[in-house]
């Protein structure tokens, strides 16, 4: 018997049509998936009860079954033995060119001729960052399907506030590879604020302090009318909980007198350090015991076992300089946003390292407010994303609907001299419409080319080109006399339409573009084809489904046509032939041969062409019946 969840009043869906949606925190070190169950937002655990999925993917060589890819804890455990085929922190490479990533990576990057996308060479073939991320998303998607008991209609995926369009695009592409429809990408700090319900609270300035395993981010958000705007972000991409562990290890090394620990000893000490750090969140003191086995004994000439007590006070002295370091980006972010500390309403804590009491204290003192920390700081982003996904999936009544999207980059058009004129600035909340007046450049100019671009740079060549169209039929006038109003409009789904109108004559022209969708479906298709075999399988499966849907559509259309006109327009023999073709197509469509279905559809198309022609003629005759030729010309 199916398991049901409690819906909001009046929102019960028909059986088998639950609008299941999830929020995904696709993190650098760990990823999570969360969903709303009976109104309660929770992260979903795997079969072992683990909520955090290490963002690590191990690619294995092809065996008789095919390629095998391991994601998560097991991949992380295997990383030390198979470092080059085990990809971690792939988020750092998303939407990046070869030059950006090569310098700080152990992986073997290759760049194919004619492709801007760098790939990592593994035993299973060359993989792009998008494909690696897709593996993580697939694992989370599978977990969600099992936990929620049905197919997902989509996901809200979080990205850092500082991600540019290419990085956001790469994230969307990864979801597409994973077969996961993206309801929306939202900024991680925004998700954290949503988790605390700040979106339904008072308007004002909110700070999100995110100290993760390896990175620190600070974001200053402004809430107006249910929409979060990112005022500024700052951070340190090499400061996090790992640094706290290293500080404790340094202390242990100083205490024990070990000078040069080897990798395996360091591993042991790091684990001890992490355990001590975690213990000191609750306790005032913790005991650190270190036993060296014989193998390691030579590293110290005196003893092979130590025992120290580390008090929270000592620990805080050790890590204080590191925590204080996070205040530098905090000040910078405040300055960039032109915000003073007393304007801040709330501070939200995100990231496991914010469990450390000293972090809370220093952050609280700096922002002069008690930071919000009730929700598990590891899960808060995923939970916020899940809440947003639930709203976007339509499981709430309309008054709860909120839109919190902003344009990540400015939109504008090209003016003379190859300059970009911004019409809608970045961080503008959508939906939005903005208009700007332009004029002609030459005497008697009767047309104008409009080139729509996206980006923050001044030169067109540095911006991304989105679309071009022309406004023709401007009456000849002296240069500068025409008034051409160009209107940019972005709807709630991020679809941009641009229209241009000459005010004196009224001539106009317009175009629709998707500003956030840089890659066309065709390009993605090509990427899919290029990807290796298991992605190929996904593609084949999708093609098959599409073909099956098409076959079904053809069958239904033909049956309806036969029902309506079969008797009138076809001989018994013809009816029989078509019926037989329909039956054959239905049967083939049940199978799993995409190509066969396609060929059969084409064949049916040919068989029924004559029938279609006759129907067309018949309906034209019907439309024309009783009308005089003269009437038809009006």
């Amino acid at each position: 018997m199916a398991l049901l969840q409690i819906s909001e009043p009046g929102q019960t869906t028909a059986p088998h049509q639950h609008k299941l949606a999830v929020g995904i925190d696709l993190g650098t070190t760990n990823s999570l998936v969360a969903s709303l169950k009976s109104g309660l937002a929770e992260t979903l655990a795997d079969t072992q009860g683990q909520h955090l999925l290490p963002s690590v993917v191990q690619f294995q060589a092809k065996d008789e079954i095919g390629y095998k890819t391991i994601v998560g804890q097991q991949a992380q455990d295997n990383a030390a033995n198979d470092p080059l085929n085990t990809i971690s922190s792939v988020k750092r490479y998303m939407g990046r060119g070869l030059e950006d990533i090569k310098k700080h990576s152990i992986y073997h990057f290759v760049s194919e001729e004619g492709s801007a996308v760098p790939r990592i060479r593994t035993v299973a073939g060359d993989v792009s960052a998008v494909e690696v991320s897709a593996e993580i998303l697939k694992t989370l998607k599978q977990r969600a399907i099992e936990s929620l008991g049905g197919e997902l209609i989509g996901a809200v995926i979080t990205v850092p506030a500082y991600f540019d369009d290419a990085q956001r695009q790469a994230t969307k592409d990864a979801a597409k590879f994973a077969g996961l429809p993206v309801l929306r990408l939202i900024n991680e700090p925004t998700a954290a604020a949503v988790a605390y319900g700040l979106d339904s609270g008072s308007e004002g300035i909110h700070v999100v302090y995110d100290l993760g395993g390896g990175t620190f981010d600070i974001s200053i958000l402004k809430l107006t009318k249910g929409v979060f705007e990112v005022l500024s972000t700052a951070g340190d991409s090499a400061l996090g909980g790992d640094d706290l562990d290293h500080t404790i290890v340094d202390w242990m090394l100083a205490k024990t007198g070990i000078i040069e620990p080897d990798a395996s000893l360091l591993r042991v000490l790091l684990d001890k350090a992490r355990a001590a750090k975690e213990a000191l969140t609750e306790q005032d003191t913790t005991l650190i015991q270190i036993h060296l086995d014989e193998k390691l004994h030579s590293q110290s000439d005196k003893q092979n076992s130590w025992q120290y007590e580390l008090s929270r006070e000592q620990f805080e002295q050790l890590i204080q300089p590191l925590i204080k370091k996070t205040l530098v980006p905090c000040r910078r972010a405040l300055r960039d946003a032109h915000i003073s500390v007393d304007e801040i309403q709330d501070v939200v804590l995100v990231g496991g390292s914010t469990r450390v009491p000293l972090v809370r204290q220093i952050v609280g003192d700096f922002f002069a407010t008690q930071p919000l920390a009730d929700i598990d700081p590891d899960k808060v982003v995923a939970i916020g994303a899940a809440r947003q996904a639930d709203v976007l999936a339509g499981n709430k009544s309309d008054e709860d609907m909120l839109l919190l999207d902003v344009t990540p980059l400015s939109l504008g058009l090209e003016t003379m001299g190859g300059l970009a004129e911004k019409v809608i600035h970045r961080n503008t909340t959508i939906p939005v419409a903005r208009a700007q007046d332009f004029t002609t450049f030459k005497d008697g100019q009767t047309a104008m080319a409009i080139h729509v671009v996206q980006g923050e740079r001044e030169l067109i060549s540095d911006c991304r080109s989105l679309a071009r169209f022309e406004l023709r039929g401007i009456p000849p006038m002296v240069a500068g006399a025409a008034r051409i109003r160009v209107t940019f409009q972005i709807d709630a789904d991020g679809l941009l339409s641009v229209s241009a109108k000459e005010e004196t004559s009224g001539v106009q022209s317009s175009i629709q573009v998707k500003p956030s969708y840089g890659l066309s479906d065709g390009e993605i298709e090509t990427m899919l084809k290029d990807s290796f075999s298991h992605a190929q399988d996904d593609l084949d499966a999708r093609k098959l489904r599409e073909e099956q849907v098409e076959a079904k559509r053809v069958v239904e259309a033909l049956l309806a046509a036969l029902e309506e006109d079969g008797e009138n327009l076809l001989s018994a023999q013809e009816q029989h032939t078509i019926q037989q073709a329909i039956d054959e197509l239905s049967e083939i469509a049940e199978g799993s041969k995409q190509r066969a279905i396609k060929l059969k559809i084409e064949e049916v198309d040919k068989i029924t062409a004559e029938f279609a022609q006759r129907r067309m003629d018949a309906s034209i005759n019907k439309a024309l019946a009783g009308q005089r030729v003269n009437d038809l010309h009006t």
Binding site: A2, L3, L4, I6, A14, H16, K37, S38, L40, S147
Partner: protein, 107 residues
């Protein structure tokens, strides 16, 4: 007859209502749709209509409209787990046959 809950179901309902922060009852009912005729309604209730039947079991208030009651009277609401999935189950004595997954049913 009446509508009852198992301990597990009652615990979860209380927790979910508490988390939601408003409404204090659970609405059970049926809707005519689904592959086998009828589907269940399981919702938080913010309002009680005049004709509604109100039951109470293990500290949970349950509201059922009179039409639905014909189809679900005697139902015991349970909470269970299947693999990673968990949720509510209707143990409905009126059901004659249900679709494969039991999400919709016939009486």
């Amino acid at each position: 007859m009446a509508i009852t809950l198992t301990e597990a179901a009652a615990d979860h309902v209380i927790r979910f209502i508490e988390n939601r922060g408003k409404g204090e009852a659970l609405r059970l009912g049926v809707k005519t749709n689904g592959c086998s005729g009828m589907g269940y309604v399981l919702e938080f209730a913010d309002t009680v209509e005049e004709e509604d039947n109100v039951f109470e079991d293990k500290g949970v208030k349950i509201i059922v409209d009179p039409k639905s009651l014909l189809y679900i009277d005697g139902t015991e609401l349970d909470y269970g787990r299947e693999g990673l999935n968990e949720g509510f189950k209707f143990n409905n004595p009126n059901v004659k046959d249900a679709c494969g997954c039991g999400e919709s049913f016939n009486v």
